[in-house]
């Protein structure tokens, strides 16, 4: 197991989420260390996206604690979680479709900017500087994906992008919030093999060049094997296995969860 730092950047302790009697997450302990890529896998309904929603405060937790950089996130609003430094993408791409590509990455820097209505109305120097700064950072983030989201695409509305580019823009938008931890929810879903191979490489570069810790939910085992330092397997809201890809993929409990009882033998 790869443990780069002593202090986890994200830690859930005994985390539970109830949906009226149904336990979507049941006493989950999970730690993510700085500079680490952790994959979360599991069959449908295992609680993977619920885990993301709980971390980003989109659903209420019923028990347990979530600590980010040593401080609890429980009780914070989603926007506060983001400004603490956790960004996410969505499983079903949810861009601001009618805003331009550049506006998408500019608006997600909202919590990093401070100019008030008065700054905007008086068109102060500070306001202009801040606008230029976030536009610049937005372009920088977009250029991470090569030429696909740059140039004339800056001013195109997001819905004109191809499906793969929309997925890329979602990641760019998350990067623009200047996080320390990125949660990617099925980043390669719906992509063809070439595209998912390319994105797999990009996930590695996200960590290496930008220094993010990354948690990724993925069904594509190829991608999981390539990117993960560590794999966590969930089933029915419970962690059933954890370890590197080779260990987890041969774990009888995991095979049972995916393929059904008796398949492991």
């Amino acid at each position: 197991m790869n443990v780069p730092g002593p202090e986890p950047i994200l830690e859930t302790r005994d985390l539970s989420v109830d949906f009226g009697g149904l336990k979507a997450l049941d006493g989950l302990d999970l730690a993510v260390y700085p500079g680490e890529i952790v994959s979360v896998i599991g069959p449908n309904g295992a609680g993977k996206t619920t885990l993301f929603n709980a971390i980003t405060a989109t659903v209420a937790t019923s028990e347990g604690d979530i600590c980010f950089e040593g401080e609890s996130l429980i009780g914070l609003d989603p926007n506060r979680v983001t400004s603490r430094g956790i960004a996410r993408t969505f499983q079903n791409v949810r861009l601001f479709a009618n805003m331009t590509v550049l506006e998408n990455v500019m608006v997600s820097q909202h919590c990093r900017t401070r100019q008030s209505v008065f700054g905007a109305l008086l068109y102060t120097k500070a306001f202009r500087n801040e606008e230029a700064e976030i536009a610049e950072r937005g372009k920088e983030v977009l250029s991470f994906f090569g030429h696909r989201l740059t140039g004339y695409r800056f001013d195109q509305p997001a819905y004109t992008l191809s499906y793969a580019n929309r997925r890329r823009l979602e990641i760019a938008r998350a990067m623009a919030t200047q996080p320390n931890l990125i949660l990617l929810d099925e980043p390669v879903a719906g992509m063809n093999p070439t595209e998912s191979a390319e994105l797999t490489g990009l996930i590695g570069r996200l960590r290496d060049e930008w220094g993010f810790a990354i948690v990724v939910i993925e069904h594509d085992m190829e991608v999981v094997r390539e990117v993960s330092d560590r794999v966590v397997v969930l089933d029915h809201g419970v962690k059933i296995a954890e370890g590197d890809y080779a260990d987890v993929s041969t774990d009888p409990q995991v095979i049972e969860a995916y393929l059904g009882h008796g398949a492991a033998s």
Partner: protein, 625 residues
Amino acid sequence: MSLTAPSDPAPPPRPASEPAPETGPSVGGSDDDAPPRPPFAQDWRRIARMGAIGAVGQIFISLSNMPVKLDGRAIIEGVLSLGYLSLVVLPLAAGSRVGHQLRREGVPFHRPGAHEVVGGAACGALVGGGLSLLAILIANFNLREPLVNWSPILADLLAFNRGTAFAVVIWFAIGAAVGAAAGLLRVVPPLARRVLWTMVLTLFGAAVLESLTTDLAEGMGIEALIDWFYAPRGGLTITGAIALAAGSGVLALVGRGRIKGAKARIDALEGPARNRAQGGLILATAAVLVILPMFAGKLTNELLANVGLFVLLALGLNIVVGLAGILDLGYVAFFAVGSYSAAVLTAATSPRINPELPWFVALIGVVILTGLVGLFIGAPVIRMRGDYLAIVTLGFGEIIRLLFLSDWLSGWFGGSQGITNIPGAEIFGLAEVAGTDPRSVFYLVLAFCAIAIYVSWRLERSRIGRAWMAVREDETVAEAMGINTVNVKLLAFVVGAVLGSFSGAIFSAKVGSVFPASFLILVSIVILVVVIFGGMGNIVGVIAGSAVLIGVLGGPKQPGLLAEFSEFKLLIYGALLVWMMLARPEGLIPSVRRTRELHQEELAQDAWLRGQTEDGHVEHGEDRA
């Protein structure tokens, strides 16, 4: 992922198995090789259906008393009045619409030709027949009891004072003629159509703007010309009408494409050159707006001031609804709070507190108070979404009015007596703005409109404007991207409230008194209709919407250019809104974004196709397409 681009240069031939279109035997390729259609091979069911709907519409319009009431307003002296015009609109629309071809896969069934004219005539005759039927009914039955407008006056109007038989025949004939003309319009070449439409619209516009133009002409000392164009008792003279039609026709011929060309040139400019062009345009508009009232009389200036007040309100609501996407049905509350707080702070007659501040000093208090009320109302409301939010704002709008009306607060605000004798607004000792001098009111309104436009324009292009857009697009995601949606929405609410309060403060100084009855829910609805009609999210659109609706038709209590319409104002508002939602949901002058939202799929397809031709290859496709 198989992709078939719909814009392939040569569309594949339609499979023979495809069902043949309703009546036409033809299965066409493109416009040119589509076969002509015999004139009488009509879709009779469609004609009958549209004719019947139109006939019912005609009867409804007649029984609403619109033709009789509007008959007093001449469009062309002795030829056409607004009343008769209201009776030929439906045959015209039906005659034009019935020839509308369904295009399957972008392919017309047949070439336009005599078929359209015959169909239009048939449909128009049926629509006109509605009036023939009504004439017979009025002659033989008396339904005056439930239908108050079932009167001999209406019968005389329908019969041109010549008896029922004449009415029966003439309305079939008029309907058929108008319907045929509408059908003919579909057939004539586009250039001729454009010229004809320009002529018709010019005549109509000249007739509608009669009071405005005569007023301006008097100010400029060119009454002689106006006397030649307009008859003494209203309406264009026949010679004037012919001259105008000819002039506008020639202009349409000569100016064809010029305006579009100029616009395209401005759009094509970039950077500073474009800014200069736009700046020049804005300056020119401002100059006209400053100079125009100097020549205009009291009535015109009154009208302009009313339009300006609604522009101000609509700009405020546009921030809330158009930018932040919060459907506020109680916007009148802020207008009311602005008016009342200005009244309390400036009037000596205010029952409880009367500091008698100068208007501009009071304005600071007004802004603070309205901002606070905006916060107070907004805080609970803003946590809701969609329909719930709309209903709650509707409630708060009424609550504010009822508070001002209540006995409980009548010691403060005078209850139903309101506050009267409010002094005008004194502008730094330079001028006194009061209702007796509508010109100065207009200038004051104009100044505040300029402020409101600047605020909207600046905020839209700031981090706050972007956050509003994000909230409008997807609130959950906006929150996950670090936007404090509650604060951002509250801010929109407060900014909208403050802009509305400006309008209120000017209103109280202009009218000189405030009563709860001035702040009915109807005002909220009218402002919202103005915003939707003009083009939500677009500053120019909102202004155009106010000019058309408030200027021409009139506001809730303010008469417009067509003062005769006042009784039918709401009916026409409703009809216009329905038509707008069907034909052009993005509004008169839409914002680019709004158009995108409403036509996303079509635009996405276009953009995708462009990408195809640009890249020259299929780039991993839209697999959900």
